[in-house]
């Protein structure tokens, strides 16, 4: 047994304090919103929206009301819109409390790589670097190993970096882990996952 992506999203939602400002990265992290109680936190979309609401009802989609993943969304009462410079001012200025980001690699020192595969197609940086270096608390969500069974929790990233020494917590299908500098500390293992399994799947010391 490991965490499903739903389990991971539910687990990640527990890291979001009530009354905080949260940016959920494109893809898996976006699902975290499904597990947040109504009114619990304020979701920030870096394209210029604070107070992002759920997807619109069919027929109410507005092409000029989207999140950073270009999905149609809604805006909650108390929400606000602003331009890109203001939006990234919020991020860079440390006003966003938590960012939950997808990742390709996370190192024991908190480095994160999540925007490019060496030798792969360049997809661009988008808001990844701003979010990773600007937010007060950066949580990474990813599968523990690649499809080819390569480590993704590593001693040192060899993928192009997004930001250095920023990740506070990694949530994977095997559990929850905290970078400590030289190692990852086991915060929690998924039900049925043994310490040995986790150690074998991790490319850095696990304590």
């Amino acid at each position: 047994m490991t965490f499903s992506t739903e389990d991971m999203a539910r687990r990640a939602s527990k890291e979001i304090p009530a009354g905080s400002i949260v940016n959920l990265g494109i893809g898996l992290p976006t699902q975290v919103a499904d597990y947040l109680p109504v009114g619990h936190a304020w979701l920030h979309s870096e394209n210029g929206l604070l107070g992002t609401g759920p997807f619109p009802f069919e027929g109410e989609e507005d092409p000029n009301l989207i999140n950073a993943g270009k999905q149609t969304v809604t805006v909650l009462p108390g929400g606000s819109t602003f331009d890109s410079a203001a939006s990234f001012g919020m991020i860079r200025g440390g006003h966003v409390d938590v960012a939950i980001l997808g990742a390709m690699q996370v190192a024991a020192n908190g480095d994160i790589a999540n925007w490019a595969v060496p030798g792969g197609k360049v997809m661009g940086i988008g808001g990844a670097m701003d979010l990773a270096s600007g937010c007060k608390n950066v949580i990474a969500m990813m599968q523990h190993v690649t499809k080819k069974n390569e480590h993704k929790l590593v001693a040192r990233c060899d993928y192009p970096l997004t930001a250095t020494r920023v990740v506070t917590l990694v949530i994977t299908d095997l559990g929850v882990f905290a970078p400590t500098g030289e190692a990852f500390r086991i915060v929690e293992l998924a039900p049925g996952v043994t310490r040995e399994q986790a150690i074998a799947a991790t490319g850095a010391p696990l304590v």
Binding site: E46, P56, P63, N64, L65, I66, G124, G127, D130, L161
Partner: protein, 237 residues
């Protein structure tokens, strides 16, 4: 002697785009396909200019928006933050036809904002310790390292507004705002395509999102495709 802030409303896209010339740096508002100046984008292709440097967050997608410029072969360089599934850009980047400079999205926005606000360069933490830092000056300030980034000015900005008055005061709709205001501030000449054109005074002074000081030509375009990238919905309860 007449300044640039008289008689801004023009009758056609053609007239609005008349000042464009080959080799210009064009700043274009929009995030993905949202908040795009669609008629101006099409009009630039019809205008027949080439060798453009395009500054935009995405440079189009799904064959739409600024992808038209790539298809038409009128772009020599793109400065953007994200390519994603934009195959028109991927193929032209791979072939070497178009040079691509990728910058973090917040740095792109701030470089444009700086250009508009007369700030030639600024320090930022974004990209420190990454490839973004390569070839740039860095400085340690209060114990943290920062990158020096330069302002990014343009010759012309293409902007989409929801509502404009005749002086060029603009309002945007929801996340259609995105890069549009900063693009307008950063260009020598800002051309606005607006869904609604109203008389001066119809927008209350406190309700202006971008002041007309940053706008030089206005063209009213009532109909837009307003393309969706991901039309996500939920069921009614």
């Amino acid at each position: 002697m007449v300044g640039r802030h008289a008689n801004k409303v023009v009758a056609s896209i053609e007239e609005a785009l008349a000042p464009l010339t080959d080799g210009m740096t064009i700043l274009c508002g929009g995030f993905g396909l949202s908040g795009n100046p669609e008629a101006l984008i099409k009009g630039v292709v019809a205008r027949g200019v080439k060798d453009l440097t395009l500054v935009s967050n995405n440079a189009g997608n799904m064959g739409k928006g600024l992808a038209l410029w790539l298809k038409a072969g009128i772009v020599k360089k793109v400065i953007c933050s994200y390519i994603g599934g934009n195959e028109d850009l991927h193929t032209r980047m791979a072939s070497g036809e178009v040079k691509v400079e990728i910058t973090p999205q917040g740095t792109l926005a701030e470089r444009l904002r700086a250009a508009g606000a007369g700030i030639p360069a600024f320090y930022t933490p974004t990209g420190v310790g990454t490839v973004v830092e390569e070839g740039k000056e860095t400085k340690e300030i209060d114990g943290r390292r920062y990158i020096l980034e330069r302002a990014l000015p343009g010759d012309v900005a293409l902007v989409r507004a929801n509502r404009a008055d005749r002086f060029g005061n603009l309002r945007f709709w929801r996340t259609g705002r995105n890069f549009n205001p900063v693009m307008a501030t950063a260009a020598k000449l800002s051309i606005v395509e607006c869904d609604q054109l109203v008389d001066n005074g119809a927008i209350s002074p406190d309700d202006v999102h971008l002041a007309g000081i940053f706008v030089h030509r206005i063209v009213h375009v009532a109909e837009h495709e307003n393309a969706f990238e991901f039309r996500t919905v939920r069921k009614r309860p």
